[in-house]
Every structure is written in structure tokens, then in C-alpha cells.
Amino acid sequence: MAVQAPAVVVRAAPRASRGLWRDALRRLLRNGPAMLGLLFIAIFVAAAILAPLISPYDPTVGVIGEAKHGPSLQHLMGTDSVGRDEYSRVLFGARISLTVGSVAVLTGLVFGCLVGALAGGAGGIVDTILMRVVDVLLAVPGILLAIGIVAWLGQGQLQIVLAVGISYAPIFARLLRGSLLALRESDYVMAARSMGASPARVLLRHMLPNALTPLIVQATLAAATAIIDVAGLGFLGLGPGDPRVAEWGEMLTGSAGFLQNAPYLIFFPGAAIVISAIGFNLLGDGLREALDPRLKR
């Protein structure tokens, strides 16, 4: 009777149980691109931790008379609109931006997976209702959804990050639920079920691990957009508040108008976001392949 939903990833590989994680780790370590991604992330994490030691200037205080000076030996990445050292700000910015990106995505994953697993696992009327709600949330432009959540939760760094994360949840929910529905009908799940495994066990042990591929792809992509979206809320006046605290997304959106007169103020924070995004994605790819036993070569 259930509305059989469309398959997202149709596949029929049962999962090995023991030694899996060790295998996966070994595959990950041998994956060149993934290690490059890990290196990118490691560099930024190091920058974030060491920022107070290696920053040449205070990232929050500038000299108005030295505003928007181009890159030089004194200021490797130039100075911003109120005369602060851009290099110090990029280093300090790693702290907030990396946290913001990962926390937002994790929030989205947690909420999305709860809803997606419930819908895909339970099926029937639960699925129908949850998915229609998800459809509605998807139809509201994400940034607007986030604005509403901020209005609801109040202003603040944490609220913003949660808001952006929650606005991603519907996409994760829909992806997960699609994969789960396809898996429900697959041979090995039916086999597990016929052998008397409980529905929860089937869901957690057999279906979820195999449904993660599209989620990982989407999540690693979202880590990059989260940084931008958080800054976008700041743009609308719902941001964390103190613009003196360095944060890449904010540094980038705040320089939107300087393409022609101070392009370095776009380039450096932009490059930091792009490189960390590439890092997250290469690592995500490696992770996905490492977790997929069929991809052994």
C-alpha cells in the first residue's frame, strides 16, 4: 500500500562486519587525493591553533590611515577597509570558519538523518507526512528558512550556525530516505529481515551504512557553503554581531564591492574558503570510497 518512493542508489552489496573499519582506514591512508585533502585541512587547523603565535598583528585593531593598502612586506595580504592586517585576519578567521562549517553541517546531518531514517525506515503514513513537510521546507529558500530560525532562536553565533545547519537538514533527510527506500527492497535486507532481525537492527546495521554515499558527498559540499551562508546572514544583519572578530565568510561578503579597487580582500579569504572546501571534499571522497567494500581495486 505504501507509496513506493523512487530509488536513489540501487545496489545490492551486503556489508562485511569485522575488520571493516581497519580495512577502511587502510584504504583511506593509501588514497592520495584524500591525504592531500587531509593535508589542506590540517594546515588550516594548525593555522587556527597557532594563530595567536604566528599572526604579525592584532586581527581586531587597525589604523584607519592605512586602510586598503595592497599586499606588501609589512602586510602580506594587504589591509582591510579599516586598516587591519588581512593576513592576521585570515589566520584567526580559520578558527571560527572551520568550526562554523563543521558544526553547521553536523547539525544538518543529525536532524536530517533523524527525519530521513524515520521516514525511510518506517515508511507508510509516517513517510508520507514527513516527506511532504520536508518538501515544503525545501521549497522555502534556505536563507529565508535560516532567517526564520534566527528570529525564533535569537541572535548569536551559535544560533546562526544552528539555523544554517537546520536549513540543510531537509536535503539530507530526502537523500537518506531515498536511499533507504531503495535498500528496503534489496535482496540482502530482505534476507536479513527473513532471518528475524529486528527492524531497528536492520535499519542501523544493514541499511544505514549502505545509504551514506550520497550523504557524504552532499555533506562535504555543504561544509563550504555553510561558511558562506553564515556570512550571508551576517550580511542581512542577523550575524554573530561583532564584525571585528575575523571570519572568512564575513571578510569575503564584506568585500563584495571591492572587486576592482581592492581585489586582494576578495582573493585571500576566498582562497581560504575554496582550499578548505577542496580539502573537505577530497577527504569526503576518500572516506566514501574507503567505506565502500566494492571499490577495492
Partner: protein
Amino acid sequence: MKRLASLVCLVALIATACSSSGATQAVNGGNLIVGLDGDMVYADPSLVSDGNSLYVAAQVVQGLVGLKPGTISEVVPVLASALPTVSSDGKTYTFALRTGVKFHDGTTLDAAAVKFNYDRWNAYTKGDLQDNAYYYGAVFGGYGADSNIASVTAPDANTVVMTLKAPQSNFLLAQTLQVFGIQSPTALKNDKADTTPLKDNNYAQGKGESMVGTGPFKFKEWQAGDHITLTKFADYWDTANAAHVDTITFKPMGDSTAKLQALQSGGIDLAETISPTDVATAKSSNLTVLDRGQSCNMGYLGLNQSLQSKSGGAATPTIYANKSVRFAVGEAINKQGIIDALYGGQAKIPQSWMPPATTGFKAETIPGYDAAKAKSDLAASGLTADQLKIDLYYPSSVVRPYMPDPKNEAQAIAQDLTAAGFAVSLKTEDWHGGYVSDATNGDLPMFLFGWTCDWAGADNFLNTAFFGYSGGKPNPQFGYQNDQMNTLFGQALQAPTVDAANALWGQAQDLIAADLPTIPIVNSTPPGAYTSKIHGFVGAGNAIEYFNTVWIQ
């Protein structure tokens, strides 16, 4: 006759059309594409108060008097043939009308038409019409029986007599606003221009015939959000100053980078404003940057001496009630540094609480940047460490001519205040989403704000925008009590002549400068720009600019 010719020449300040100037000859024809800061709101100029609608209206409708192009406060006759004669009690203004003036629908301007328009505005009903027609009510103190206009009469076809209940020193200057542009009574009646609600009002929505005035351009079409098109009016009364271009298309473009790039790529010919930080870029890419000359605004740091309670309780005094704290704040801020970094140099440090070209301006001594003195003044003020923790508010999602980059300006001021010894927290609210109302209700202790002149009179800044009392109490925005000042305001507003008023405004400015209730930061001139094909454009600091002089080559 000769005098008239030179007057006409003066009126329009057409450098090229007047024999006295310019070697190059104006070329007729062509379509001018103008990047407007935003869309119009209504196509009936009497129902608007926003800059975009007024910018378009200036091309289409004309009032009895106007401003000399390029200036912000020099009143010149337009549909009147000369400035009015004023009775000695300052209550009766007699205007002689120009003859041979045609409306865009072909009907003729006469005194009855002028009377019709003034009577129409005075009769605006409560609701949609009064809500949108801000200026009539603001200038005359209300509508109908509340209005300061006792009567408008037309003793003969070319004479209009306006009688006021009480003298009003800003009367003539305020009549230069485009909202007092005279429209064709025939068109207004035929198109049922007074229809409410406005969603059923086709005239106001520009769906057919709209803004039927006497200007050098007439309204053609308005596609909301996309463009407004005006065409040259063939029967314009001032033949010497008829339009050169065939059409003007106004394109609403809110985004400043988009405007700059549209100019550089030739997609538009002229931008009403560009971002001040793009001035150098524009100059280097062969664009002419428009110098608007006289500023007509003021950006300031607002200080509130008496914080209102949002829950309705009693107001609490703030540290800014202490005069030496206010002076310390004033001395701490490096205004020139801010002007150079964030205004592209397109602004000046104010010398009073209004820009210098304003009627009634008096230069005052305002504390300048002196970091050491700020420190010592603050130390002398005896504030505790806890009192030195202050909140500085700035608005988000907004750019104003006097405040092109509020977030960075707030950070720059915060740096200076921190150096002086304050511990500054930056706070922000959305401009429409609470900032304006919180500031004007007196809920913000220290805030970035400003004022764009409605008309360039001392009354508009000192009384309307800043320190005028309402209901017998100081403006809650600043909590600045100075009864002597407010008495002077009242006397100046009702002074029978402009000169008498100006003397009183001068005294008021002396009182204010001695107290430094707010910190004036800039008088800016928002830059505009145009491509090398465009000639003959005259800019003005209040953005009342006329395109009849513009030609394309």
C-alpha cells in the same frame, strides 16, 4: 526681454544652450539609460517622499518655484514668472504665473489649475493618500482645517494668492519640492487620481496616463522593477531649454558594483550614484565622476542622554548626560581618516549641525580629532570602569548617502573610542527591522545615524531631524533638553522673513555647539558617474537634477 532671456538661461543653467558658454554644440536625439538607485513607488509625485520617485518626478512635473540647478537652497521661479511678493506680516504670497505653459495632455496652465492642485492636496483623506503624501502634511502641519494654508485663490487667470494662518519662514523653500509640482486638472479628474485604496488607482500606479505635468519630459511607461520611460515633450514652454534626448529610460539598480560595471560596459549611460570607494576606479576607466558640489546631508554619531525603557518604565540617564564624556567622544574620532577611507574623500567635516550651503547655517567650533585630549577628558569625567563599557549601534542592510558603509564606519569609530579608553561592544539591527524605530524612540544609547535634507533649511535639520521638542518634551532620540533652544526654534519657524529666521537659527546653533549633544561626522556629496558620451549634466547635492540639458555624442 533681455532680462528674461538671461533669467531663463540662469534657471536651467544650460551651459551649452546659452550663447555665453561652451564651444561644443549640443546634439539632439538619442536614448539615455540612467541607473536609478531603486524603483519608483508611485507615479503621482504628490504621493511620494522617496528619492527615486522624486528623481524621476523632477523631469516631468514643475512647481511654482524650484531650485537653481546645481544648488540646494537658491529659490528661482519656474511656473511663476517671478518670485512671489510677500505681505509684511509674512502671511500672504502672491504669485504671477508664466503664460503659454502647456501640460503634457495639451491643456493650458492657469491660476485655476494651480488652485486645483493645492486644494486637492489639502483635501487628501486619512488613510492611503495621507499615509503616502508625507510632505504636504509635514510642511503645513496637517490637512484640511489643520493645514497652515488658509486659502489659495485665483483672482485672475495668471495670479495665484496663497494666504497662511501663521507666518512660516520655510514656506518658499519647501515649495521647491517636486511633490508640489502642478499636474493637469483635466488628467487628474479623468483618470480619477484620488481613487483609494491605491491598489485600484491606475494613475498612481502608472498604468496609463500618469504624472501629467509641464516638464521637458513626459511620462510614457513604467514596468515595475524593470524600467520607467520618459519621452521628450515637444510643446515644452521653455523652448530654449527643451530636452535634447528623445527618451530617458530609468533602470532601477540597487547594487553599487553592478552599477559601476554597467557603466564600464556601456550598459547604462549614467548612474545616479556610485559607491564612494569606486570613485578612483571609475576615473581610471574613463568615466566622469559627478561632483555634486554642495552637500545636503549630515552623518553623525547619535548620543542619547536619557535611555527610554522598552517596557514603558522611566527613562534612565546615560553617561552621555555628562558633557565631558560627550566632548571626549567627539575628540576621539578621527573624522578625516574615516572620510578618506570610507567616503572616498567625497565628504567634509561638518562645521555645524547642517551642511554649509543650508539656509540659516552658522559655522561653529566643533571639537576636532585629538586623541590625547579625548583620553584626558575621559579620565577627568570620573567614569567607573563599568561605565566605560559602552554599546555602539550601527544599522545593517542599508546604505545611505551620508553613511555608505555603516559596518566599517562603526568599526573605525570603535577603534578610536577604544584608544580613548572606552570598552566598545558593537551591536547591529536591520535598518527597517527595528533600527530606525529603536533609534528614534530613544532605545539606543550610541548609534550611527544621519539625515538627508528634505529642503536645505536650518529648520529641516535642527527642528525636524534633530532636537525639536514634541509634545513639550525633548526628542527621545537624543534626550537633549535645552528649553531656550526650543523657544528659539519656535520663534524662527514663525519668523515673518527668512533673514529674521536665520538670525534665530544662528543663536540656536551657538547653544547646541556649546553642548555638543551629538557628534557630527560628515557632510557628504554622494558621487554619481557617467560615460564619455554624456554631456551637459549638472549635479546637485540634494540629487534634484534635470536631464533636459543632457545630450549624447
